[in-house]
């Protein structure tokens, strides 16, 4: 980055940090700038990477075959139906585009989740127990798995044996939450370190460049 760009970046960084003191016009400026430029950036990216190569170029360059034209016009039609929703009168037609889109993702989800989250996990859960002391850990993992599954049983009240399991399940859940929390602290601190590195090194030159 050129010095001017670094200064602008540093100014915007400080605008956002000022939010820690309280909401103020600098933060508000940065916020509004960010919203506009993020939306515009994404729009430009989608245009250059999706609409241009897949919709515009196939029908405007070379000699498009009838097949290409049909294969391009169908998604184009669906896309235009989506945009037409700008006017409330066209909420009906836009449903076709939404229906198509939702159908695609539901269709992928069924075998995808079934394989990666159910079969693969179950198949690993039934691995033979590790030998020696490892068996204790294997047993604990199994108990944790069964009790947390019990907590997420909705069609029975948490009473009796089920109640006890659900309670143990909650403990396992809390330990998992704690682990996530610890790791999240780690991640956020890393990001802060990197921003402070930018301010101290790239902007103020207080620490040497690597």
């Amino acid at each position: 980055m050129s010095p001017v760009e670094t200064w602008i970046a540093a100014f915007l960084t400080l605008c956002v940090f000022s939010f820690l003191y309280r909401d103020n016009p600098f933060y508000r400026f940065a916020e509004h700038l960010f919203v506009g430029s993020a939306a515009g950036y994404l729009l430009a990216v989608q245009y250059q990477n999706v609409i241009l190569p897949n919709v515009v170029l196939p029908i405007t360059t070379g000699k498009p075959t009838p097949q290409t034209i049909v294969l391009t016009l169908i998604p184009l039609m669906l896309g235009l139906l989506m945009v037409a929703r700008v006017s409330p009168r066209f909420t009906g037609p836009a449903r076709w585009a939404i229906a198509f889109y939702v159908g695609i993702y539901s269709g992928i989800a069924v075998p995808g989740y079934m394989q990666a989250q159910i079969y693969a996990q179950l198949s690993d859960a039934v691995k033979p127990f590790a030998p020696g002391w490892g068996a204790v850990n294997s047993a604990l993992v199994l108990i944790g798995l069964l009790t947390v599954l019990a907590y997420f049983f909705f069609s029975a009240p948490h009473q009796g044996l089920h109640g006890v399991s659900a309670r143990v399940g909650i403990w396992f859940l809390m330990v998992a939450f704690g682990a996530s929390f610890g790791y999240t602290v780690m991640a956020r601190v890393s990001l802060l370190i990197s921003r402070v590195q930018f301010l101290l090194r790239d902007w103020l030159h207080l620490i040497p460049m690597s």
């Binding site: 939404i98 079934m114 039934v126």
Partner: protein, 264 residues
Amino acid sequence: MPSELDTRLFDPGRINLLIGILLFLAFLIINMLRARAGHSFFIRPLAGLQALDEAIGRATEMGRPILYMPGLGDMSEVGTLASITIMTRVARKVAELGCDLEVPCYDPMVMAIMDGVARQAYREVGREHDYKVGSIYYVSAQQFAYVAAVTGMMLRDRPAANIYMGSFYAESLFLAETGNLTGAIQIAGCDKVTQLPFFVCACDYTLLGEELFAAGAYIGREPVQLATIAAQDWAKALAIAVMLIVLLLTAFGHPELRRILQVS
């Protein structure tokens, strides 16, 4: 060429997965038929859901808006789909009581769908003309641009209730902390486990993980929807049974059965 063009019409290595999907489908259909036949399903209550009406009522009394955030997932996230179903109830209640609703969206597709849901809800209670165009809007599909705009809105418009339903990521803490600072009632439901500790700490009620999906079905109290929760529980029970049987057989020296769970 190292890999030939594949001309097979079926991958036999995936037959067990196909059987799994068909079984699950069967569970769904059986339970729906039971529901049609008048069977009533017990579903344990979810506290967060009961609090929704209360929050909307309070917002109406205070004359301040309700902020509904459908998460940062797109339509391929089940959390988003559950959020849409929950929105149907929130929108109808809001339409009945006539308070203000704001729905900032991260995904434009979700925005279009939410808009349709809300319009329909207003139509159903006969107040089609009270629906404010622009109350459901797209902010930005860039995570922290969205966060900047929504936190700004929280601090300036001071909504009476913040409802987070859907798939949330790193923004959870940011949004929930800011919401907490403004003193709004906060109700969350999130299927991303990593973010749950933050919602649990900063919100009045939190639906944990799968409870969010169940909430979607639970909300209308329609028998057919409740039946799908029962079907899921059946599948869970089957999974536990299969697991225990395979483990027992393995312990007695027959680990072969494990293969039924391995997909090619």
